[in-house]
């Protein structure tokens, strides 16, 4: 038997998880083909429901901090006279307790101005007009996730690429989104867990009962065990003494 070593995360994506849920619940069987996109109308209602249960379960795990947001790296490129910059679209928050922007060419870190823009405007009233090498950043509180640089880059400091580490949104939106787990096993047992929620919602069963459902709880425990960074102690039989 060949052993395949998995080197990177799961291949199961949002679409595959929906298919898995539909198959576990006997929605896909017989001559049914697996769905290839969420706009198919043969199983439209079930496809919608399967997406909802996956998102609900993911949200629950996120809220419980069972799965973290994914750490990733973004970048921004400075422009002459441009003070504020938009962060990555999947940005949730910066990684780490002391986030910074990094300009690798000069091995320079740009840290947050303590107190943010509110403190900055008190200390340096003309902060918006001062140009030069950026030495601090601060949150730009608008409707989109942006930061401001102090100082505003001038010609000399334009076209610099600053990278930053951040926590990425792991919400599943489109078919191709990979499930936010480390292994195929985790993604598969997650689908089994979500499939159980699917059944409750499909059958209009009181969803409160899900907390007491042994299958759902079993799958959830399996998922947690699989996600442990250290091995769980195995035990065979009764421990004596």
């Amino acid at each position: 038997m060949a052993i395949i070593l998995q080197t990177e995360g799961p291949t199961l994506n949002f679409l595959g998880s929906v298919n898995r849920i539909l198959r576990i619940n006997n929605i896909i069987k017989g001559d049914d083909d697996e769905i290839i996109n969420f706009s198919e109308n043969q199983h439209a209602a079930k496809i919608e429901l399967a997406q909802i249960v996956i998102q609900d379960e993911i949200n629950g795990l996120l809220a419980d901090r069972i799965i973290p947001y994914e750490k990733t790296t973004g970048s921004l490129t400075t422009s002459d006279g441009v003070r504020t910059y938009t962060l990555a679209s999947d940005f949730v928050r910066f990684f780490g307790k002391k986030p910074y922007f990094y300009y690798s060419e000069d091995n320079q870190q740009v840290f947050e101005y303590e107190g943010g823009e509110d403190a900055l405007r008190l200390s340096i009233p003309n902060y918006k007009d001062q140009t030069g090498n950026p030495i601090n950043w601060y949150p730009d509180l608008t409707t989109t996730k942006k930061i401001g640089l102090y100082q505003t880059p001038n010609t000399e400091h334009a076209n610099r690429v600053y990278t930053y580490d951040y926590e990425k949104n792991v919400s599943l939106l489109v078919e191709e989104d990979i499930m936010p787990f480390h292994s195929e096993n985790e993604a598969q047992i997650f689908a089994a867990m979500a499939a159980r929620r699917f059944r409750y919602m499909e059958e209009n069963t009181d969803i409160v009962q899900l907390d007491n459902d042994p299958i759902w709880n079993g799958n959830r425990s399996t998922l947690f065990n699989l996600m442990r960074f250290s091995n769980k102690k195995t035990r065979w039989g009764v421990k004596h003494g």
């Binding site: 619940n25 929605i27 209602a45 059958e203």
Partner: protein, 516 residues
């Protein structure tokens, strides 16, 4: 919601009277006995085109002579031209009518000829002996014209005749075993007859024009316009009488009255009546065969009624792309016995002539219903074509279920499975009209054909219906049921389920369930 099967036809009565197996609207499906599946009607096929000339090229009539030695000679009338048609591409001109007409005929096997009448009564009665079309010898001074003819009690009976004077209420009976001898002066019973075997005439008592005749077992039934149904009693010229048979109604139109084997049906205002039931029960609701399809019949004033004996179907060619089909075996089932055939082909089932005859082509003995169009084309129903109507037109099959209510649909929506047999690749469109929120959603279900590596025969392959192999037989998985699911978006107090298949292929949907 119970499983949905398809053994019932169209039922346009109040929804509480519609069974789940029926549909409130639909067309182009079959509902043969002992079959609960949804299957399409067979296509019609053009068999020939008569020579086209300037002027009318309407196919106006057919007459088929089958001699005592079982030789077929078929006449096809195109415009005013009467051709001897060999069932293939050969049309030999045999006669030209002097005026517009619609020829019809009866076989006089004893003399190996057919007596040909004109439904429009513009042309004289003719004789077709397989070689030539000639004016029938009648023994009368004046030319004889007649609308209807029938062979009964070893005589040819002509109805709604004209011989010098137009007498639409008059019936001429030929002499016994001699269709070339008629008499317009000797009246049955009151005339002077030496043997009783002589020719005679007789009138319908209400003196109204005769508009239909049919044999009902041994009884000759006659309809009069705005009148009643009469029957013939007696055995010879001395005692033949026309007496009331059913006074409650009579047929309308010109060719609506027809024998359908063990029954006679006819069209009256907005209703298709069954004489058999009328005969036993009087004019009660149960004699109204069309109660399931009253909205379709309503306003119809004429049609051509054709009985397909082999397939136990009755066709009512009522025009406007509606061919109403009565499945005779279904009449006693309690479910609607009605389907409608429609076509996307230009012929639109609009015809001046339709007939149930033996295939005119040499060596072929199967009976079909034939009809013509206004371009000289002759078609036959129930073709083995694998390419739709006229071998070039998709056939759209449609069924709209009754309103199906359930608490489940209201709370969870509807989902389930379609059970079918793999015959060909066909897309089934399921539309769901949800009550309460007035939304319609669609699930498109691709029904699969035989497996790719299946090299056996199936419809659409080398073999076909009626051949060595037939419908849904031959390939490895032909008898295995398979399923596909459906789950449209929507909730409501109930649904109308609309099924549509637009294809030249055939299919076999067994049932639809609401269980996943």
């Amino acid at each position: 919601m119970a499983d949905i099967t398809f053994e019932g036809g169209i039922n346009q009565q109040d929804s509480t009277l519609v069974a789940p197996q029926e549909c409130v609207d639909g067309y182009n499906f079959e509902i043969q006995n002992s079959n609960t599946h949804l299957q399409p009607r067979l296509p019609f096929e053009k068999q020939a085109t008569a020579p086209i000339v300037s002027g009318s090229n309407d196919i106006n009539g057919f007459v088929q002579l089958i001699t005592a030695s079982n030789v077929k000679h078929t006449l096809a009338q195109c415009g005013q031209r009467i051709y001897d048609w060999n069932g293939s591409t050969t049309f030999t001109l045999k006669d030209t009518l002097i005026s517009d007409g619609r020829i019809r005929g009866v076989n006089w096997v004893l003399g190996d000829y057919a007596v040909v009448v004109d439904l429009l009564k513009n042309n004289v009665v003719k004789k077709w002996d397989g070689t030539s079309v000639t004016t029938l010898t009648t023994g009368l001074v004046n030319p004889l014209k007649a609308k209807y003819a029938i062979v009964h009690l070893s005589r040819v009976w002509l109805f709604n005749v004209e011989s010098g004077t137009d007498t639409p209420h008059l019936i001429l009976a030929s002499a016994f075993e001699n269709p070339e001898s008629y008499d317009t002066s000797e009246r049955a019973v009151s005339g002077t007859f030496a043997t009783g075997l002589e020719a005679f005439y007789i009138t319908v008592p209400n003196l109204k024009p005769i508009n239909g005749v049919a044999l009902f077992f041994d009884t000759l039934v006659i309809s009069t316009i705005d009148g009643v149904l009469y029957k013939l009693i007696g055995s010879d010229a001395d005692d033949f009488q026309i007496v009331p048979y059913y006074t409650g109604s009579a047929a309308i139109g010109t060719e609506t009255l027809s024998n359908i084997g063990n029954d006679v049906v006819y069209l009256r205002e907005g209703v298709i009546e069954s004489l058999r039931v009328t005969d036993t029960s009087g004019d009660v609701a149960t004699n109204d065969l069309s109660r399931w399809v009253r909205q379709i019949i309503n306003g119809t004033i004429d049609c051509i009624t054709i009985y397909d004996r082999n397939r136990q179907k009755v066709y009512f060619f009522i025009g406007d792309n509606i061919l109403l089909v009565l499945f005779k075996n279904k009449i006693e089932s309690g479910l609607s016995p009605w389907s409608i055939y429609k076509t996307n082909h230009t012929s639109s089932f609009q015809t001046n002539a339709a007939i149930y005859i033996k295939n005119p082509a040499s060596g072929l003995n199967e009976y079909y219903t034939y009809f013509g169009d206004d371009s000289g084309n002759i078609y036959h129903m129930d073709s083995t074509s694998i390419n739709g109507d006229n071998s070039d037109t998709d056939i759209q099959v449609f069924r709209r279920s009754r309103y199906l209510e359930s608490e489940q649909i209201e709370q969870q929506g509807i989902s389930g499975r379609i059970y079918y047999k793999r015959v060909a690749d066909v897309d089934l469109s399921m539309q769901f009209e949800f009550g309460d929120d007035y939304s319609t959603t669609t699930s498109l279900i691709p029904l699969k054909g035989p497996p790719l590596d299946d090299d056996a025969s199936y419809w659409g392959g080398n073999s076909y219906w009626g051949g060595e192999f037939y419908w849904n037989s031959g390939f490895e998985f032909s008898s295995i049921m398979t399923t596909r699911g459906y789950s449209p978006v929507g909730k409501g107090t109930g649904i109308h389920m609309l099924l549509t298949l637009n294809t030249r292929q055939t299919f076999d949907v067994v049932k639809i369930t609401d269980e996943p």
